[in-house]
Every structure is written in structure tokens, then in C-alpha cells.
Point group: C2
Chain length 225, copies 2
Amino acid sequence: MSRASDRAYSAIRNMILSGELPAGAQLGEEALAEMCGVSRTPVREALRRLEADMLVGRTDTQRTFVADWSINDVADAFELRAMLEGRAARRAAERMSDAALARIRNANRALATAIQQPSPDVAGFLEGNREFHAIILEVAGSRRLAALLGTLIEQPVVLRTARHYTREELRRSHAEHEELTAAFARRDGAWAEAIMTSHILRAYHAYADAHRARIDAGMTQEAAE
Amino acid sequence: MSRASDRAYSAIRNMILSGELPAGAQLGEEALAEMCGVSRTPVREALRRLEADMLVGRTDTQRTFVADWSINDVADAFELRAMLEGRAARRAAERMSDAALARIRNANRALATAIQQPSPDVAGFLEGNREFHAIILEVAGSRRLAALLGTLIEQPVVLRTARHYTREELRRSHAEHEELTAAFARRDGAWAEAIMTSHILRAYHAYADAHRARIDAGMTQEAAE
DNA sequence: GACATGGATATTGTATACAAATGCCATCGG
DNA sequence: CCGATGGCATTTGTATACAATATCCATGTC
């Protein structure tokens, strides 16, 4: 992470995810280099990685810009993620060791703690959630699958709406994690896959509902935050 | 494609797929630059792309080498490809226009012609096959899905064994394409998905059988070619 | 003889200069 | 006034020089 190209990648990525660089904005290499305090070479590398993540796009003449995620793109990403994480859960259940199961239970406990605070600890929830899914991906034991999911896990719009989660949504998410853990304990791949697919698609519809609500209220996406 | 980085990408890629650069070989940037007739800058870009394709790997100290695909890696890639192409076929069936259906039928006719030659035209078959799958992916209308499949379609070992296909295998592949076309004509997504998944998995097992036969004969993978 | 150490060698990372291309805008002709 | 054209400004692409880091091998020590 100490390399200039990694710093550039993180910096630009954060600026996109935070909305500091709005969708559609042109990304000049020179300007980004100055912002990141590095030369154009590592910036170019960072931009290529972000392009692979589909966080930035490219015109037919090689101009780079912040990708604009339409509601269809979000639906698309969720659909694929549901399928791939479902497959990961199936494989994980079939390969689950007692040690890994213990780690998953641990991550779930941390998650439960986070949502039981007087005012829910969203950052803690997200971290526990990330850990939970990471362990599953690790146990699934497919580098390919992990690579494919890598580009799908963090979507700009979704991360930005995470802190609007209600306590009820957090509690429900945790309950689904518990059910998944039960499927893992039984080494039931089909069950695990079904729960995981449902888990992701429910999250999608929660997002889509919130999105529609904002539209109906006549608010722009930015103003709603 | 006229850019130096694109030429470097194609050149290195071909050297890997052809086996000229064997699995495990170290890839020095300087040496590759000389081979491709460009400087290190575009070579570095090409290597990053190949890394995303998982055709090359990287040591913990940033040394690049030709990825070594174990039989498990191949199985992994096929399993994911079966799932993703299956999904693509489902989406394509649900979105199929009459014009696109005509194009698919056309690609199939070209494919039929190729395998009916006195001595099967494997190159022609592969091109028709590529076109067929490309149209499906286009009709599926998911840029994400296309991007994910992009890294899965061309596996080194599989391409190298393609020319050993028997006429019977080619004929069977064509028959499956015909059946897929029927599913598209009915706009039956579930049917299309099932055929496509089966199509890919059958191809995998044909490959795995051939691979096992080579092992049993005490031949190395290279010697078998 | 095995292993640690240090420095020479090779390789990768970054900055910068320059080349090529793209976009912009003023000018000109209709 | 509208659109085409040409040249200037900006941006991206490539080469190269240099810096940082890793590898390798010889040497010395136990």
C-alpha cells in the first residue's frame, strides 16, 4: 500500500466513492497526479485498475471519466453478486472446517454487538459484515470466484446509502447471517446458497425501495444524503 | 490495437497461449520489451492486463511469471463459465429480438459448414463458435456479465487442445447450438440456461477426459501436443 | 560443511521529457 | 447565420533516466 500507484488508487477511489468526484467528471491524469502528490505514471496504473472495477469509464478517444451507475447497472451488479455469492456459500458449506465455522460465528458475534449499541454502530456493522463474507469466500477456495466478486462488492451508490440503514434492517441482516451459519454447520450447500442469494437480493430491494422513495420525493440522489 | 501497449498485450498473450512462454517462466519487463519492440512502459501495462486475466501471476515481491493452471484451476474456470454463460443465455432468451435470432442462426450455419468439410475446418469452427457466444452475450445486455466472462473465455490449456476435437465432438457441439437456438426462438430462458450450462460442462468433461488420457499414457502435457 | 552477511547485479517503481492524438476555437466561405 | 477548416492548446501515449528494492553469489565465521 505504500507504493505510489497504490496510494493513487486508494485516493482516487475514495474520491469517487465519497462523491467528491461526481459521476461523469473528466479525470485528467495531470490533475489527479497533482492531487495525489505523485507523477502521471502511477496515476495511469491506478486508472486502469479503476477501469477494471468499472468505477471509471473511457471515451472512444481514451478520455477517462467517473462512471455513471444507472439504476440498471446497480440491478445488474446485484444480480450477479447474488449468483456468485450464492455459489461461494454453496462451496463454502461443502468445504467448511470446524475452525472456519468458529471464525464465522465470531464475526457474527461482533456484528451482533455492533447493532445492539444504543445507537447502532454502522461502521462496526459494515466491518463485521465484510469479515463474514470474506471468510466465506476464503473457505469457498476459488481464486477465480474471489477475483470476480472483488469487482462487485463495493458499489458507489450502495456504500453511500449504508448509513441510512435502520436498526430493523441491520437486525434482519444479522438474522440472515445466523441462518447461514446454521446451514454451514450442517454442511448443507443448497441451503447455504439459497439463503445467501436471498440475502443479497433482499439487500438490493431495500436499496431500490430507498432509491425510489428519494425519486418520489423529488430529491436528487445527492440531495438525499 | 495499433497502440504499443495493445501490441505488447497481444504478443505476450499469444506467446503464453501458444506455449512459447511455458507455465512458470519468469517474465522480465526488459526482455519482453525487447521481444515486442517497445519500451517497458507499455509492457508493464500489458502485464497488468494479463494479470487481471489470470494468465500471469506475481510473486510477493512483484516478480511476474506465466501462471500455472492446475487441473483444479481449469475446473474452477469451467464451473464459473458454465454458471455465467448459463445466466447470459437466460437473459438473452428473455430479450431476444427477431433480428438477433437471425444473426444467431447465421453463425450456426457458418459453423455447420465448417464441420462438414472433408477434413473439419477447426479454425472456422472456433470462429463460428466465438461469434455464436458473442451474440448471446450482446443480447444478454449486461456489460458487467460480459466483463466477467471476458476473463474466462480463453483458457490456455483449452485452446491448445481445441484442434484435437474429433468430428463427433464438433457435430455434438453444433447440435447443442441448434437446441439453444430453439430455446431462443421460444424465448424460454430456463431452457436456454439449462442447455448452455450443460453445453459448457460437457465441454469441460471432454477436456478432462482427454487430459486424464494423456496422464495415463505417461505423457506430459507438452509432449501430448 | 552449514549458515549468516554484505555488496554487486538485476529487476521493478517512479518521474520526466518528448511524441502523437485529440479537442477547442477562431476564422473563413457559403 | 451555419458549417467547414486550420492551427493552437490540452491530453494521452511512449521512451528513457534514475531511484528503490530484491536476488544472487562470494566470502567469512562458527
